[in-house]
């Protein structure tokens, strides 16, 4: 698994989109400060009837599914043994790392007494009956796993950078003080590099065990995200309340994961002006409809078994959201069954968008739209509440943009721009 499969993007970091994202991020973080000073009620419309709002529904339940690209790609590469997808995996892992890290972060904004979170590590407080206990531990573990999986990129970076800016800065600093820069600093940097070089091959060897852990953990907590609502038998609408929630959430996150991997590749190729990875994308796209077909059959079969089919097509409030979800996923998959559409980047993009929207809507339906705590309760997110979520998402995209420009993350260009790629590689090695 050579690091030579990847390269960093050599472009400017300070772009207009960077500034927009930065502004959104800052607004979001300012509102978070308000939440910690004045209480959750000051920024959100959540209530005792709707104790989970957009933060849990989007940032945690949906955000982690969208961050399942790394999980889905890892299954494909390491378990189904499709090694030619390996070059795509690092950027998928980077987005997963951000998605999960920030989901964890928004949980800390959402919970009322975050300072008590250390209780998760105290065995006498463990509560194995609680799906949330399982989700919390798995998500924490998985975020750590993702960071370790991403380590090779960082180590390569440490190894290959010249640290010129840092050197320069130090020289200047010492110049101001009227002293020459001490030698041992440069030595120490060399030392760090040596450690990185020593660590990398060892990490590479052990990495497979971590990677497999990175497949096991999402399998556990993505299904548990469905189990979370199993307790709400009186509140969740029968269109969505079923014992199959864990299974449905699991399959849902896998097809969302592949669709996101497609979107991510198309968008970053477009934004960073790289050639599209059409062959790889078509291959991914071929897997998705099989998963969605299984998923849709479980949904429909279960509805039929519980006698809810009539409710599904009754066109009331709930049924409309159900049908919308169904059509988005079904429609996107139908497109992908056609080989010609799979070969076109535009159609691939459209169908992946449909499936991600449908899959995300499913999670919204379960966590918010189909959730009815009884008469007199209403929920629609407040502006400040939305802006906090937007801020977190903006931060995520921002981080991705910056990191692909510093670290070797994106697949190395082979085909069309072969000699240019060689040039890049040489520049990077120099």
């Amino acid at each position: 698994m050579g690091n030579d499969e990847y390269q960093k993007l050599n472009t400017r970091i300070l772009t207009p989109s960077f500034c927009v994202l930065l502004t959104l991020t800052l607004i979001g973080f300012a509102l978070m400060a308000v939440r910690f000073i004045k209480g959750i009620g000051a920024v959100s419309n959540m209530s005792d009837g709707y104790p989970w709002g957009i933060w849990i529904t989007y940032d945690v339940a949906t955000g982690t599914a969208i961050a399942c690209g790394g999980y889905a790609m890892a299954i494909l590469v390491y378990i189904r043994n499709r090694m030619h997808y390996h070059p795509m995996i690092r950027s998928a892992i980077l987005t997963s790392m951000f998605g999960y890290g920030l989901a964890g972060f928004s949980v800390m904004v959402d919970v009322g007494r975050p300072w008590n979170a250390y209780n998760f590590f105290i065995p006498s407080h463990w509560q194995a009956n609680s799906a949330m206990f399982e989700v919390a531990l798995c998500v924490m573990a998985y975020t750590t796993v993702l960071i370790i999986e991403f380590m090779p990129a960082i180590l390569t970076w440490i190894e290959r950078t010249e640290w010129r800016t840092l050197q320069h800065l130090l020289n200047k600093l010492y110049g101001r003080l009227g002293k020459p820069a001490p030698e041992h600093l440069a030595d120490r940097l060399e030392g760090v590099k040596e450690i990185a070089a020593w660590l990398k091959p060892r990490l590479d060897k052990a990495l497979i065990f971590i990677i497999v852990l990175g497949i096991t953990l999402p399998t556990m907590h993505q299904s548990s995200l469905g189990s979370l609502l199993l307790i709400a038998s009186t509140k969740l609408h029968p269109l969505w309340y079923t014992g199959f929630l864990p299974l449905l959430f699991l399959i849902n996150c896998v097809y969302i994961g592949y669709s996101i991997a497609i979107l991510e590749s198309v968008i970053s190729c477009y934004a960073f002006k790289r050639p599209f990875e059409t062959a790889e994308l078509a291959g991914l796209a071929r897997i998705i409809p099989w998963l969605t077909v299984i998923w849709l059959s479980v949904v429909v079969g279960d509805l039929a078994w519980r006698g809810q089919l009539a409710a599904a097509v009754s066109l009331d409030f709930y049924s409309r959201f159900f049908l919308l979800e169904f059509c988005l996923i079904g429609g996107g998959s139908l497109l992908l069954f056609s080989g010609r559409k799979r070969a076109s980047v535009r159609w691939l993009f459209v169908s992946a968008v449909l499936i991600v929207l449908g899959g995300a809507l499913y999670r919204f339906n379960v966590y918010l739209i189909g959730f009815n705590p009884g008469k007199g309760w209403h929920y629609f997110p407040a502006l400040a509440e939305l802006l906090i979520t937007v801020g977190i998402v903006a931060f995520e995209i921002l981080g991705y943009q910056v990191l692909v420009k510093i670290l070797p993350v994106l697949p190395r260009l082979h085909t069309r721009e072969q000699h240019e790629a060689a040039g890049h590689g040489a520049a990077e090695k120099a």
Binding site: F36, K38, G39, I40, A42, S44, M46, D48, G49, P51, W52, Y78, I79, N81, M83, H86, D110, V111, G112, R113, P114, N116, A117, N119, F120, H125, W126, Q127, A128, N129, S130, A131, M132, E134, I208, F209, V212, L213, I215, T216, T219, M220, S227, L228, L229, L230, I231, A232, S233, T234, K235, G243, P246, T278, A279, A282, G283, R286, G374, T415
Partner: protein
């Protein structure tokens, strides 16, 4: 390459399935039993005169310990009322008046039902909600609580309330005066002050006997139903009333506790942690094998892709 991986896939399914079956068998033996020796209250809506002495008493007695406070209604610009509109982060119990018509109405008291198989306890990730096996009291420990509000999602009666307006919030709910009136006087503060005997405090078996006696002696007065006897696996707070309970804000519920079903599924998947470990080891096995055999192929395929962007071979599954 492909054939073994399919066989291995079947193997995972087999191991997983065995674990599932094992789990199911173990879960079946964990049926829950109703314990009638535990403590609770019987509220008789036909006896209640709506004096709200119980509400005042609850706040006075539990105010400091339970972080309760007096509430201002939107109309109360002069600050002359304690007028909670619902149970809230400041109020553990509340009397409401349901009006069917001019002449027909009924009071109703809300507070925690102290379920026999409480959903809030089942879902709390850090054991901040607990049910005392001897007294049956469902209690909340703010020093453990992380404020995730899962208990609110889980409770079918929407009893636990959160302090939305506080920077240091907590969950608020009735604890049967476990830390205040009960140890001192042996009775809950609300039952203690009730002037008409509409709130009876005692063991569940005595409450049930009394409720049945009232139903038999005055069959015309009551609906023939003790709310809480069977609902959600039984609750320790019981109700008698002359009017349909769902009109009084007490939902029509099944007799199974939701926590039984969700725990059964959770246990089925996680019993003894067999399934996750099996999954992990099988996946490790496959991945390492793939890596050993695959590295050569990996290189070859790479060279192939550099020459011509070939159609992907994924279709031959």
């Amino acid at each position: 390459m492909r054939k073994p991986s399919r066989r291995q896939f079947l193997k995972i399914m087999g191991v997983g399935g065995a674990a599932l079956l094992a789990g199911r068998r173990a879960a079946a033996s964990e049926e829950h039993h109703v314990n009638n020796e535990t403590l609770g209250m019987l509220y008789d809506a036909t006896k209640c005169v709506g004096c709200k002495a119980c509400m005042a008493s609850c706040k006075r007695v539990n105010g400091d310990y339970g972080s309760l406070s007096y509430e201002r209604a939107p109309f109360d610009s002069d600050g002359l009322w304690d007028a909670p509109q619902d149970l809230s982060g400041s109020t553990r119990t509340l009397i409401k008046l349901f009006k069917e018509s001019e002449r027909e109405w009924s009071y109703v008291k809300y507070s925690c039902m102290h379920c026999q198989k409480p959903s809030c306890v089942s879902v709390c990730p850090v054991t901040a909600m607990t049910r005392d096996p001897v007294t049956g009291i469902v209690d909340y420990n703010k020093n453990a609580c992380i404020g995730c509000r899962y208990c609110q999602v889980a409770c079918a009666f929407t009893i636990p309330k959160f302090q939305w307006e506080k920077a240091i919030p907590q969950i608020v709910k009735c604890d049967l005066c476990k830390n205040t009136n009960l140890p001192k006087k042996g009775i809950s503060a609300c039952a203690e002050v009730c002037p008409t005997g509409a709130i009876m405090f005692g063991k569940r078996k005595d409450l049930l006997a009394e409720a049945n006696k009232r139903l038999q002696e005055h069959p015309g007065t009551y609906l023939d139903h003790i709310y809480g006897e069977k609902e959600l696996g039984g609750t320790n707070h019981l109700y008698l009333a002359a009017m349909q309970f769902n009109k009084l804000g007490l939902p029509v519920l099944k007799t199974e506790a939701p926590a039984e079903f969700s725990e059964k599924i959770q246990h089925t998947i996680y019993k003894g942690f067999i399934a996750p470990v099996a999954l992990y080891s099988t996946l490790c096995f496959i991945a390492i094998k793939n890596m050993r055999n695959g590295n050569g192929e990996h290189k070859a395929e790479h060279d192939a892709t550099t020459d011509k962007p070939k159609e992907d071979g994924d279709g031959k599954r």
